[in-house]
């Protein structure tokens, strides 16, 4: 009874038997080949457009392209800033002789995670998270669960641990599937390739003073670690919604609306500065690694991580307080 292990085992069995996780793995197994095919088409098109496979030529062409567009009066100031940053990044890659877009299994897994973290993976996480308490409430099994000689906080903690386990599994499965499937097309090499990190954005300008190259496997670890953290925050928020809302569908709806609102807000937030305190604006922590401009000026990696941590702890505090105190009336 003192051990949490049997409770976590219970929750894991329920999670697997409900087949939610299996569905997520299946969705990934279907979607990743689609993206791999898309990536392949992009690479082919790219080669056709520039008439060469040489990345230096292509990158130089890209820099030239951006520079031309910069001088155009029709381009807004904001876009110009973005393009300047991009030119700096590409130029630095040229100087260091690192292909900024070499396609292989590892880069695909890297890019897939970067793009999937915007909406796709958080949605998956909220699908399993929003269900974990509310399904017990809507089916009435909560009455059996809470009349056992086990404290309520232990029950919620076992659910949280199970959620953490499965979110980690989702991240792992995304990485493995995207690497294995894309590797079959682009090749499995590329772990040792250098990737540029350490860009800093100071006053809207990309500073390369602290930039340096790391091996791609190191970069992957950083990227997947940050994604894991972002997903943990989404999981904590889903757990709270799951405790507060009795209907599973409503819970998922709330989480999806919040996450989608985040992507929409990210486009507006450049003029609404206090939006940077919202958790959904801060989920794209990977962007700081590669030096793309943040959605809101002034966002930094430590700031985002702090905001996310505060939100997650707040959500857990609400979830545990409500869950241990509430009268079960339905």
């Amino acid at each position: 009874m003192s051990s949490l292990y049997p409770l976590v085992k219970n929750e894991t069995i329920k999670m697997l038997k409900k087949r939610r996780f299996l569905v997520i793995v299946l969705i990934l197994a279907v979607l990743i080949p689609v993206f791999v095919y898309g990536q392949l088409k992009v690479a082919q098109n790219y080669a056709k457009q520039f008439g060469t496979e040489d990345w230096r030529v292509a990158t130089e062409q890209q820099v030239k392209d951006y520079t031309n567009r910069l001088s155009s009066p029709r381009v807004s100031e904001e876009w110009k800033r973005v393009m300047k940053v991009e030119i700096n990044r590409l130029q630095y890659a040229l100087d260091k002789n690192i292909n900024p877009r070499s396609p292989n299994g590892v880069t695909f897994a890297r890019d897939f995670m970067k793009n999937a973290l915007i909406l796709f993976i958080p949605l998956m996480v909220s699908v399993i998270g929003a269900d974990i308490v509310s399904s017990e409430q809507s089916t009435g099994t909560i009455k059996l669960l809470l009349t056992r000689p086990v404290s309520r906080w232990r029950i919620l903690l076992s659910k949280l641990i199970t959620l953490i386990l499965f979110v980690s599994l989702i991240i792992l499965v995304v990485g493995l599937l995207s690497y294995l499937i894309s590797g079959a097309v682009f090749g499995y090499q590329g772990w040792g390739e250098p990737v540029l990190v350490g860009f800093q954005i100071i006053g809207g300008e990309l500073s390369t003073t602290t930039a340096h190259a790391v091996d791609q496997w190191q970069f992957m670890l950083m990227e997947y670690g940050l994604s894991w953290f972002s997903c943990m925050v989404v999981a904590c928020m889903s757990l709270m919604v799951s405790v507060l809302v009795r209907s599973t569908a409503a819970g998922m709806g709330i989480m999806m609306a919040t996450l989608i609102a985040g992507t929409i807000l990210a486009n507006m937030a450049s003029s609404w500065h206090s939006a940077k305190y919202l958790f959904m604006i801060n989920l794209q922590t990977i962007d700081f690694l590669t030096g793309s401009l943040p959605a809101v000026p002034g966002l930094t990696l430590p700031f985002s991580l702090t905001v996310l941590t505060v939100w997650a702890l707040g959500a857990l505090a609400v979830a545990f307080t409500v869950f241990t105190k509430r009268d079960i009336l339905n």
Binding site: K14, K143, P149, V150, D327, I328
Partner: protein, 317 residues
């Protein structure tokens, strides 16, 4: 700390959104007895049960299970209870066996042998490895009881255990509950069906509008209620006069007739509330007055009469 009283409830009250749902419930449960908790729908039966099993915290009052306070030591108190609150809602995507394993992991000292035991007690060996979603309501009810018995409780709390069962199932459930009680288990059964409680329970508490209005042994409570005697006589008016003139006999006016008596064919006769021992005396008095007697029927008091008298015919609020 161990006392003879399995469950002791004192001055239980619950306020939900500034409305008193439960306004004072007190009773005791002894070992090995089947205790009925009777009340119309909406009287507060389920709310009371939810407080007994720790799903709702009481606003006032104390609950002690085997002498252990539910509020200060919830786990020790709940360890002695097995319960089904309303319908036995189990995980439909798991098999019966997996459900039992799930709840066994939450109880101290329950192993596979005990699971096998409870499956045998409820007689579900045949279907235990099927998914719960394929079970009939009666089977779910039995699996619910198996689940409640897993931790070898001293007290079994069943909320409307015969709800939704067919007559055969109701009879089986009744026998099953009596059998469990004969082995020393205390059983707390709520119901809105009076006949059910009368057949199954040793003692009963009657709840109405959130308060317990009577507690006692079923027979004792019934004896407090005087019998009703129905006289079929001619001429009727004269008979009524004679009976009304007797001491300790109350003749009920027709307009005051309770509907269930009217339905029993009493409209033709005179309804008198009196002790059955005084029938011969009344008989002689009627004969002396020249009243012909066609029939005398004693209607024994039922819990239903008592209940309706106590609640003054209240149904659902």
């Amino acid at each position: 700390m161990k006392t003879d009283i399995v469950l002791s409830v004192r001055g239980l009250k619950k306020k939900i959104r500034s409305k008193w749902i439960i306004k004072g419930v007190s009773f005791d449960l002894r070992p090995g007895e089947v205790f009925g908790f009777l009340g119309p729908n909406g009287a507060g039966k389920t709310t009371t049960i939810r407080m007994l099993v720790g799903l709702i915290s009481p606003t006032e009052g104390t609950i002690e299970i085997g002498g252990v306070s539910l509020k200060s030591h919830p786990n020790e108190a709940l360890n002695q209870i097995g319960c089904i609150v309303e319908n036995p809602e189990l995980y439909s995507y798991l098999s019966g066996w997996e459900n039992l394993e799930h709840f066994a992991r939450m109880l101290p000292g329950v192993d596979e042998n005990r699971i096998n035991e409870v499956v045998a007690i409820v007689g579900m060996e045949q279907r235990i490895h099927d998914k719960v979603r394929t079970y009939s309501l009666g089977m779910r009810q039995r699996l619910g009881i198996a689940q409640a018995l897993l931790g070898r409780p001293r007290l079994l709390i069943l909320d409307e255990p015969t709800n939704g069962l067919d007559p055969q199932g109701i009879k089986e459930m009744r026998e099953f509950i009596r059998q469990l009680a004969s082995q020393g288990l205390s059983v707390f059964v709520s119901s809105h069906l009076l006949s059910e409680i009368q057949l199954m329970c040793d003692r009963v508490a009657i709840i109405s509008h959130g308060s317990v209005i009577a507690v006692g042994e079923v027979q004792e409570l019934l004896q407090q209620d005087e019998s009703t005697v129905i006289w079929n006589v001619f001429p009727r008016e004269k008979g009524e006069q004679v009976l009304a003139s007797m001491e300790q006999v109350l003749v009920t006016r027709e307009e005051a007739l309770r509907p269930e008596l009217a339905a029993a064919g009493a409209e033709a006769g005179i309804v008198a509330t009196m002790s059955p021992e005084r029938i011969p005396e009344a008989n002689r008095a009627l004969q002396q007055a020249g009243v012909d007697i066609y029939g005398v029927a004693i209607k024994n008091p039922t819990l239903e009469d008592l209940f309706l008298r106590l609640t003054e015919g209240e149904r659902i609020e």
